[in-house]
Point group: C2
Chain length 477, copies 2
Amino acid sequence: MNKDKKVEVGITVKKSEDFSEWYTQVVQKAELADYSSVKGCMIIKPNAYSIWENIQEYLNKKLKKLDVKNAYFPLFIPESFFKKEIEHAKGFKPEVAWISNSEEGERLAIRPTSETVIYDSYSRWIQSYRDLPLKLNQWCNVVRWETKATRLFLRTREFLWQEGHCVYETIEECNRETLMYLEEYRKLCEEFLAIPVLVGRKSEREKFAGALYTTSIEGFMPDGRGLQMGTSHNLGQNFAKAFGIKYLGKDEKEHLPWQNSWGVSTRLIGALVMVHGDDKGMVIPPKIASTKIVIVPIGFEKSEKIVKKAKEIKKDLESFGVILDDRKEYTPGWKFNEWELKGVPLRIEIGPKDLEKNQVVIVRRDNGKKKEVKFTNLKKEVGETLEEIQKNLFEKAKEFLKLNTVKVKNKIEFENAIKDRKLVEATWCNSGECEGLIKDKLGVKSLNIPFEQPKINGKCAYCGKEAGVICRFAKSY
Amino acid sequence: MNKDKKVEVGITVKKSEDFSEWYTQVVQKAELADYSSVKGCMIIKPNAYSIWENIQEYLNKKLKKLDVKNAYFPLFIPESFFKKEIEHAKGFKPEVAWISNSEEGERLAIRPTSETVIYDSYSRWIQSYRDLPLKLNQWCNVVRWETKATRLFLRTREFLWQEGHCVYETIEECNRETLMYLEEYRKLCEEFLAIPVLVGRKSEREKFAGALYTTSIEGFMPDGRGLQMGTSHNLGQNFAKAFGIKYLGKDEKEHLPWQNSWGVSTRLIGALVMVHGDDKGMVIPPKIASTKIVIVPIGFEKSEKIVKKAKEIKKDLESFGVILDDRKEYTPGWKFNEWELKGVPLRIEIGPKDLEKNQVVIVRRDNGKKKEVKFTNLKKEVGETLEEIQKNLFEKAKEFLKLNTVKVKNKIEFENAIKDRKLVEATWCNSGECEGLIKDKLGVKSLNIPFEQPKINGKCAYCGKEAGVICRFAKSY
């Protein structure tokens, strides 16, 4: 909306100079999201919601192949459910929103996550080994009563996500699949969103409330902060015990099953903006873009042939998702700015001279490079260029991650690297006490502990005690 | 789950004998939905959620063509928003759920519908005629604090729906599109869900709180009740006034725009069960079924050839959505019952004798008819049979509606027809007073007033005053 104003304004700060303000401007001016009059809540606008729908479509296909089915569970959770798993209750207590009209004498929470309300049902549905594995997923809204300042997509009181909830006979199957879903998330981020991520296990202090252990994928943002982009929790038998989920095994004895849960959220859209956006606005990786191409005809007021040809091209490229911007009330320059701001991966320009030469000019959003392409080659060239853009965005982000990762050996190096907003890889004692010290002193949490560990020889880079692991640390969102 | 028990039990009452109990059994035993421990809330299980996803896919395609875009607005609505449009506030007051932790000194409601929270944003987004029409839709959960007994899909405190919200320059455009969305709903119900519906305008008493007028599609259920299956409201300028939505026209003057809103919900799944289900369980119309065919091999323990052929057939029919049920722990008879209970439209049986004769037996779920079909004809025959099933389900439902529609001329006929659980078409005075009397005496509301009206000559069938319209009445959900 407000089409005129938007372009007069554009993005008024540089990404490298005021990242936080730059982010807010891109999100709002590219019409991805907006603040609401409701404190702490966001409006997801069509440009971002279509990205979310593409993520849904991508993941739904993957999950179907893994025999996970979609379902929907209630928004409300009785307080008593929350109290059943003590660690879970403690972990979520500060951020739960409650309903005031619950006439049953029991308070109802609005789900911050759905383990409890889903496992109450599982305890009734699961009786025999034949009912296992049980693998359900839901796409829904969740509410966490944030008190910190709102950041669109990153920290809001309500957000959208998917949460998978599986039940297995054996711990081996549960372990294996916990990692399998994490691997799907890694692929989603790297192959679809073009964002490199670091896989690993959360520290005890940072694991999900009630889990046996938590695995995660962590991204690293241009402002030197880690961003948790997806988690997969092995819940062990903790919730099975708390909710009385039991099954009769082939051995005709009663057993406790093993469970995992896993999720990604609309936070991923925030990561897309931060990682790929530039001083001109949003840059959408081609694979996640509903509109991959915009055609801007030039000087077409004087020649009907140009619009005719542009329409032909549009039809020819339809499978890519293409817009023909033949509005007469805006200049080509205005349109270039608008579509760059919105992040459409590829622009096709066609003017009188191009028509003479049987060609168009294609312009890449990621690096601004222009190329003249003959009509006959266009479809092939466009396909290849979109692939190159996807690849280039990923490689650039990977290079950034590499350049900003620092291995530290002692406290001074640790502190300096954090001050320099680097991603720290430290030999570490893996103790909650040390992590507490690090947090108090540097305002930093551990991101995760890589699955593949070298042989550790030496001391904790921070506290000097015996080191057990390599762990990643960074400022975080 | 509980696979063994389910079949021992099956549906234990006849649809014609105890409709309400029959409905609950089908919904639960076909694993469409389940009650939750949370009072008034339902769990939508995968068999029903996949139907909902198919409805979403169908409507999303249609809406995209009509230039409606999907977005997402906050779950929470400040109390002050509710108070802005007085009729709207009054209408929804009794059924709103409130959050208890709103530190801003203002109560927050959980959305029962989103006009207010969306139009607050629209008032900021819309400034010029260039911003119009603005056409957004959201798929979300809504909450209405029902105090009546829960009916899965039909009356629950939380349900899923879509709500479209459009803003136009002129009343003509708004009127036209209000009807256009209703027409899309009619097509969804009749052509996709195979449920005939009656289109028309709601009475003043039954219109949406805050609307200028409401249009609806109404179904008629086998227990003699009307079911409102979708509504499209022309909101006039009521909300524009209340929320200060204004635009600068081409004439450079400020104008109030015109708005509509329209929605369908998971209630449609309840209608599917009621209209098409039978004494054996659910019957899913082929077009809405994710799994249209189940293949049950017979006697395959003795012959590998049968399963091999069944797999070939599966591959050949894959585009229809097909399951091969080659589980060894269940008998064919058990499987027939299971898939009939779940409503899969077509069953293919293949045994040793069929294999010899290069044929299978196909069995229709809608009428139980069997047919031998040669392998070479199978794909074509299956496609045609599925189309016939779709058509037959619609025709049967249409016939039922026709047989149960009664034109009444006076109060006695009116009362008798309602007692007989008919759908009443009455010449009517179209007054709120008369409708109040009808409701108090017969417990009946008007469904809607057909758009196409004959010339009315005579008196109101109920109160005897001057008649203005033909109107439909029935018991309702």
